[in-house]
Symmetry: C2
Subunit: 328 residues, 2 copies
């Protein structure tokens, strides 16, 4: 294993120290926790909290800041944070108007975030939640009942964060979230597996000429392995699956996110975006929002995912709403 | 070679198409060129132009926008753009107050940018320039007489871009640049070599337990190979070399940039930043600016570099001056 680390058991703590030092004008670590919180509180606004296992940087701490998350709760690498840590995140994000939890659909996260919700309510904080299950690759998976939550979660952070910033109530954020999540779908492809520092070898191995469609962001199995293909062919496979899910029609408005999984250069992500563009234009879609980059990674996995969002209501304006974060 | 591309000879063109499609609200491709230009011109302000070989994404096009670059000229992968392309970049960035060229010290770039400067002056555009040579690793290198220009170049873009945005004249920008560049120094370490798509194999190979200090951003040789070390030891080596160059004293003000070389996860970059912090604090430096991320990459090289800038005059304010770019 070739990594720039010290002891594998210290990676999360040292990462959080380096992160909060580097951006101490925006964020702070809640002492004695693995919670990264927004520095300037805004009383009377709903606080949005997300998080999960570490290894998905810049998610989730990179999206903490005005207009997006109030706090991110960071577990060990690819391991859900405990309920007491999530409770600390809820307290840190509470600005007197309730707290909303954005949970990626992984069994551990769902259980621990829901337990923390109960604990917070016992302490008098109103809490609502949504479970994001945007990955269309498989119906159930290694660590998940139902579909997994992956890169589309960042768009949920962005839109709900904008709504909270605009002064929406907890009930309004909940209503928005429940409508939003079914309109976000993602599918990815992996070229190399990720290496968890404490494990020291890749979680799965692909042959030199092999790739896998639909791998999860912790290396969970996808739906098929194939020989290496040109970007155009990858785009065709992925767009066709998304098209079937959305059953889109000419003239419909969408947003598009190409997300790098960790070690795939921006050069490749932009080339893939160009191939996606051709397919979406051929279908007559109106693409009103686009973004490319490493937003929800799987440590050093190679590959990328394509997220699409069907744009309704004020979602486009909320995607474009100004934020002050490290990584949006 | 496992990459998400189509034909190797098409990577730059397709990347530029994907990039300018994704961010068409900010930037545009000058038709028939490899120039990416700012979309909204601001008459009366100096235009800053940079560029070089592709493969360093998000440099340089990711820094085109209000407050930073007026245009980026993109060559083939790791290959300088031709003088006629640089001339197109100068024309695209010209807002009636002259154009300033930020050139990384590589022989091809210096020659081609200087030829373009002469061509532009023949067309009546005033042009000044600075050559950035921030890499302290070696005195001369494979493609360079003198020290190489690497990640510190992005800080030059940022500070000169702010000065131009503040309405400084071409002569004032030139004076600032000449004072600024000697106060920016960088040193890096590589764990894996980069693969140029048209070559198909890494430009250099390190053993499984080996790293190399001072590798250039095109894979040029560094100053020593060593066995894999903890992040703390890498930070010690790199900070010690920078300390010797700067000959800093307790209480001096600096800025710090940890730059990922392409396939190194943010997790590792933040851990390294934490180790750097301890060393700089021990020396009593005042660190007033910090940034971490992939800003000047070498395609899929693994590793990172540390850039330090001794802060004088208004440089801190200029680093914090607001910008509208994809990647700052």
């Amino acid at each position: 294993m070739k990594k720039i680390i010290n002891q594998p058991e210290d990676v999360v703590n040292e990462m959080l120290e380096g992160l909060t030092y580097a951006y101490d004008q925006l964020i702070e670590r809640v002492p004695g926790t693995t919670v990264v919180a927004k520095k300037n509180k805004e009383q009377g606004k709903v606080g949005i909290v997300s998080g999960g296992g570490s290894g998905h940087e810049p998610s989730h701490a990179g999206f903490v800041g005005k207009g997006m998350l109030g706090a991110a709760v960071c577990g060990e690498v690819f391991t859900s944070p405990t309920p007491d840590q999530v409770l600390e995140g809820i307290k840190a994000a509470d600005q007197g108007a309730g707290v909303f939890l954005v949970i990626k659909n992984y069994s551990g996260d769902v259980m621990n975030f829901e337990m923390a919700k109960d604990l917070a309510e016992m302490e008098g904080i109103s809490v609502e939640q949504v479970i994001v299950d945007d990955d269309i690759a498989v119906e159930d998976s290694t660590y998940t009942a139902g579909r997994r939550g992956v890169a589309g979660t960042v768009l949920v952070h962005k839109i709900l964060g904008a709504a909270a910033d605009q002064g929406k109530s907890l009930a309004e954020v909940k209503e928005l979230a429940d409508k939003l999540v079914p309109n976000i779908k993602t599918l990815g492809v992996a070229l190399f597996g990720a290496t968890v520092p404490a494990v020291g070898r890749p979680g799965f191995v692909l042959e030199d000429d092999e790739l896998e469609f639909g791998v999860g962001i912790h290396g969970e199995p996808g739906y098929k392995k194939e020989k290496l293909q040109p970007s155009k062919a990858l785009a065709q496979e992925i767009v066709a699956k998304l098209k079937k899910e959305f059953a889109w029609e000419q003239g419909e408005k969408f947003g598009v996110l190409v997300n790098g999984l960790g070690s795939t250069p921006l050069m490749e992500q932009f080339i893939f975006m160009n191939d996606v563009k051709a397919l979406l234009e051929a279908d007559g879609l109106v693409i009103e929002f686009k973004k490319v980059g490493d937003l929800m990674t799987a440590i050093d996995m190679a590959g990328l995912s394509l997220t699409m969002i069907r744009l309704e209501d004020d979602w486009l304006a909320q995607l474009n709403h100004p934020v002050t974060t490290i990584a949006w």
